[in-house]
Amino acid sequence: MTSKLLSPESTAPEFEQNPYGDRTPVVGSLWLLLFGGAICWTIHLLFVVAVSEWGCFSGMGEFRFLGATAIAWSVIVASLIAATVAGWVMFLSLRSNWRQCGSDSGSDGEDFDKERGSGCYLAQVAVWSNGLFLFIIVAQTIPILFYLSEC
């Protein structure tokens, strides 16, 4: 019980060093990547809803350009930006998936459930959640095609 785990020199322990394992490198940025698609989606939804609510209320729908209202144009532009950013995040996730999990890991197949450490796991979850968010952003853009010219 009283045996010293660490070398005798370290009776005054240095807490900055952890003898019991390494922390996964680059994990911090992976956590960010994990939420990238979600953040894109959140901002996109808030923006398009605000524009359509406020726009329809304030008469922004009267203002037309090339047959579509200013509301429709702002939603389309916002969607393009959001989809591009989400796509970029998706690409980054795929790249880190490839880096963290090794090149042999396809995104399907049985060895997909194989564990390769936290970094790989976070990258895998990032790929799928960002992929879903990208899809949701695209799906949320479809309605505007019906409402190009009115509220």
């Binding site: 399907d108 197949g109 060895d111 459930d113 564990e115 450490g117 899809f135 799906a139 479809i142």
Partner: protein, 351 residues
Amino acid sequence: MMRSTGYALFGLVLWLSVSGCHRDHEQSMLHPAAEASAHIAWLWWILFGICTAVFGSVMALLWVAIRRPSLTSADGDTAKVANVDAATVGSGRRDTRPLSPLGNGFVIASGIVFPAIVLLGILILSVNSQFVLTPPETTRTVRVVGHMWWWEVRYPDEQIVTANEIYIPVGEPVRIELTSADVIHSLWVPNLQGKMDLLPDQTNVTWLQADRPGRFRGICAEYCGVQHAKMGLLVVALPRDEYDEWIAQHQQPPIAEEIELVSRGREVFFASTCHNCHAIEGTSAVGVRGPDLTHMGSRQTIGAGLLPNNRGNLIGWISNPQALKPGNLMPRTHVAPDDLHALAAYLESLK
């Protein structure tokens, strides 16, 4: 899955009983009498078809999953066992549990790709329907104001005020402007149209159109207090000529028959508290808390769709409204039985 089959049978029986044709269905969304409600009913049957197919397939898969003979991926490939962290593999720690023969590919195909396609289809269907159901252009407007627990109905262009009944001409869309005098209500006439809330904050707009003459019942669909359950209304669709006649008649002040009972009833009306809350056009009764009674005699129901409008019900209602619709805002009126009879006769005569 025998239970599931039984379940489906049970559903079928219920469905047959819904679609049975011995009923008048005056408050049913599956018996549409308008383009809008017919479109929504069509939408429902499409959704029902898609969802039944999906539900059936998922349950069939689940059934097969738990009933089929024991299977593991090890049957074909002994290498496929659950994995452990590469770092600890060296220390010989290994899970001996066999894996499922189905892997992520199955989950991705059936849980992501397939639903994504179906849901995109439903999304397009939904937005398209919403677009198709944009309010049509029309010159006819009816303004409905929600009250606890009755409907004030105004024809602003025709200068008509009535209550709990909306008359519309067959085949023409009528713009309905909705607002509320107190809490939030919701107008719902299932045979004709989806519902729309009546808010004290803003005027909402919907429209009603009936493709055939008839009586369609509506009801308040947003909880609005103690008598939310008995806040009904009637939409009456008339052929154009009858509708015009109705409008013309309601633009005139009521013509009360001048018989003795009626004139005594009028005296009772103005001697008691009635006129504090109710208005009758062309008289000194201008109360606004209760429904306008100008053409009371021509209304089909009393108490907001509660009872058929006849003398017996009218007497019962006036003598004790709290028994028929507990909690409503009309107090009991203390009128002698004879006077009550006269009062009812007077109201009946207001046509």
